[in-house]
């Protein structure tokens, strides 16, 4: 068996393109993913066209929100690009200069002010996003949504504070500015006090019953409006979310990204290498000679799986070393993720052997390896709650018969203590290795 592995390594060494790919591929992937993960600080560019003058004040009961403040809120999370018109903003999105556009209409201020009146209107702004890239569009949607939430929160606070001032005026009294004239407002509390003071002094025969009713009303109104203040304050944050986080959130995402990257590289290299290498035995006419009393068919499968495991593990280690330059990898957990990589490589190699034995021709084996492994791996990454129950079951079944998902689970579990448990995926990979090995052996009967 070792001579076959040695021979395959010699052949591998003789193919500069293949050898270069084996080294360059993980390095390039490591660089790309590393830069993507660490260079994500660049803000989303949003084209902004505001028809509200920057100096226009949105006075809300004494609280001022001007156009520039809203703009600052909008542009706090994204890089805003000023547009000259709505169509200009739209063109920026179409050309890719901006990933989204925000159009603020001229009547936004009026509508916001109307919120504090008896006839409130619904203020609206227009968002334009480029839907050609689903992933980027989703990211943009999330960012714009977060951006608007902040702006809305500011407005809600100002509105509630303005309204609370009005209530305080009615409740406690004070001066009110109306069309440039100062108006004195008595306030309910003072009204009650005055009425109570004058009630005993009233001469007999006065309609005390009516006065008593006015006093009771002023008292009740005072009590109830005292409650209205806290209620209005509460609407500044209509939905509260109690979010509890343990540990550091970022490393988990990093671990998953590393796991996906390593599992993909492992799958590509191992499945393609083993499928092609086994089919090559047929193309070189060597298979018949090998099996003419020299090596059993089972040993040939074993040698190919061994080759795939060795090379796949090596590639994964190069990839991890490259990624380690950008992001933290727990080298203390090396025995765990190394175990996952070795088991994953063996399962991918066995799958490659089955494909190579079935295809019997290098190009066909390579094509089959790509056409089968890539879609199945991508399916394995679809979140369960993103599809309906029937499709979820189908995806889970497909994912269960291909090594990608268990390899990903085992690798992420190996990389991080808080990751998924490793042992079940390792058992899963062992079963798949044996099953694909048996299929490969079966296919070699008609090789």
């Amino acid at each position: 068996m070792r001579w076959l592995v040695l021979k395959d390594l010699q052949i591998l060494k003789r193919s500069p393109l293949q050898l270069t790919l084996l080294v360059v591929y993980p390095v390039v992937i490591a660089l790309l993913v590393g830069f993507a993960m660490t260079g994500g600080q660049e803000q989303t560019k949003v084209a902004l066209y505001s028809q509200i003058p920057a100096s226009e004040s949105l006075g809300l009961g004494g609280e001022e929100v001007d156009g520039s403040e809203i703009r600052n809120q909008l542009c706090g999370r994204v890089e805003c690009i000023e547009a000259d018109s709505a169509s200009d903003a739209k063109k920026m999105v179409e050309s890719g200069e901006a990933t989204a556009a925000v159009i603020v209409p001229e009547d936004l201020g009026d509508k916001i002010r109307s919120l504090a009146s008896l006839n409130p209107e619904s203020p609206e702004i227009q968002i334009i996003v480029n839907g050609s890239d689903a992933v980027e569009s989703q990211v943009t949607d999330d960012r714009v949504e977060a951006m608007l939430s902040e702006a809305n929160l500011l407005l809600a606070k100002r509105l509630s504070e303005g309204a609370k001032d009005y209530l305080d005026l009615i409740l406690k009294g004070g001066q009110f500015d109306l069309l440039g004239q100062k108006i004195e407002v008595l306030g309910l509390k003072k009204s009650e006090q005055i009425l109570r003071q004058i009630e005993p002094k009233l001469p007999p025969g006065t309609d005390k019953e009516q006065l008593a009713r006015a006093v009771r009303f002023a008292h009740l109104a005072t009590d109830n409006l005292d409650l209205a203040g806290p209620l209005l304050t509460a609407i500044t944050e209509p939905i509260k979310a109690d979010k509890v986080e343990v540990g550091d959130e970022a490393p988990s995402l990093d671990t998953y990204a590393i796991g996906v990257t390593v599992a993909f590289a492992l799958m590509f290299v191992t499945v393609l290498l083993v499928a092609g290498s086994l089919a090559l035995e047929k193309e070189e006419n060597a298979f018949t000679r090998l099996t003419a009393g020299l090596v059993g068919r089972g040993w040939i499968i074993f040698a190919k799986v061994g080759l795939g495991t060795i090379v796949g593990t090596g590639v994964a280690l190069i990839l991890l070393a490259g990624l380690g330059l950008f992001i933290g990898i727990e080298w203390g957990r090396a025995p765990f993720w190394l175990l996952a990589i070795v088991f994953g490589a063996a399962a991918f190699a066995a799958a490659g052997a089955a494909l190579g034995a079935a295809a019997r021709e290098v190009r066909a084996a390579t094509l089959a390896a790509v056409m089968i492994s890539v879609p199945v791996a991508l399916l394995s990454l679809v979140p369960d709650d993103a599809v309906g129950p029937a499709i979820e079951t189908a995806i889970n079944l497909v994912s269960a018969v291909f090594p990608f998902r268990p390899a990903l689970d085992a690798i992420t579990g190996g990389l991080e203590l808080s990751g998924p448990s490793q042992w079940l995926p390792l058992l899963h990979l062992t079963v798949l290795t044996l099953a694909y090995g048996a299929l490969a052996r079966l296919a070699l009967r008609r090789f």
């Binding site: 001579w3 076959l4 040695l6 021979k7 010699q10 052949i11 003789r14 193919s15 070189e284 006419n285 060597a286 018949t288 000679r289 090998l290 099996t291 003419a292 009393g293 020299l294 090596v295």
Partner: protein, 242 residues
């Protein structure tokens, strides 16, 4: 026939593939130091018979007796990206590990390089060698374990006359050392030139076994005119409805 102690003998060998009969009770034998040519039209069953004689395929019925049989496939079964020496060393090691020989693999390689006259090309990749030299390496691998019988499946296909002559010079040297050789060929002149005996098969049946002269005599006995051996063989086939 060869006599009482053939190096390799098959009796009543039959083989079918998917219901199609490839061999129908064929007898074959080759004696020590003898060269036998297996001739017949395409699809006659020559390669199937050689595969069964080599032990690569199992017959449906019949018996094969013989030890130390080496088989050399029609197309060079070599790794083109490995050098001559690396190919030889790989198969030497595999044969050693399989218990086919006790000889040290490295010494075996040196012996084969000397035998094939390819010592100077030892470091060259097989893919860069001529067809004749590839076939010499191909045969050398078959000879590593010192077989008593060498089975060659159309060994000279694709070779020019000079390459063919060098190849046969190499094979006949082995014969002189006592190795029995059986080879299949389409080239009747090659069979007449190098084989002591000719075995003809057609549509899975053994239809002739004897010398080239005996084949001519058989044709003339049937009333046909015998010019060259190829013409005689074609007449022989027509006479028997093939």
């Amino acid at each position: 026939m060869t006599g009482e102690n053939p190096a390799l003998a098959a009796r009543g060998v039959s083989k079918s593939f998917d219901g199609r009969s490839a061999l129908k009770g064929v007898d074959f034998e080759v004696g020590p130091g003898e060269v036998v040519a297996l001739i017949g039209p395409n699809g006659a069953g020559k390669t199937t018979l050689l595969s069964i004689l080599a032990g690569i395929a199992e017959p449906d019925s019949g018996e094969v007796a013989g030890d130390g049989v080496a088989w050399v496939p029609q197309q060079a079964a070599l790794y083109r990206r490995l050098s001559v020496q690396e190919n030889l060393l790989l198969f030497a090691r595999l044969q050693h590990d399989a218990g086919q020989t006790d000889e040290n693999p490295s010494l075996m390689v040196k012996r084969m390089l000397d035998l094939t006259g390819l010592a100077e090309r030892a470091a060259d990749r097989v893919g860069t060698l001529s067809g004749g030299n590839q076939q010499r390496v191909n045969i050398a691998i078959g000879l590593m374990a010192g077989p008593s019988v060498l089975l060659l499946d159309e060994p000279s296909v694709g070779l020019d006359p000079a390459q063919r002559e060098r190849l046969w010079g190499f094979v006949l040297d082995l014969v002189r050392e006592g190795t029995a050789v059986a080879f299949s060929t389409h080239d009747i002149q090659e069979a007449e030139r190098y084989a002591e005996r000719i075995v003809a098969v057609a549509e899975g049946e053994g239809i002739f076994s004897g010398t080239a002269d005996e084949l001519r005599q058989a044709v003339e006995a049937g009333g046909a005119r015998s010019e060259d051996l190829e013409t005689s063989f074609l007449a022989f086939l027509r006479e028997r409805g093939h």
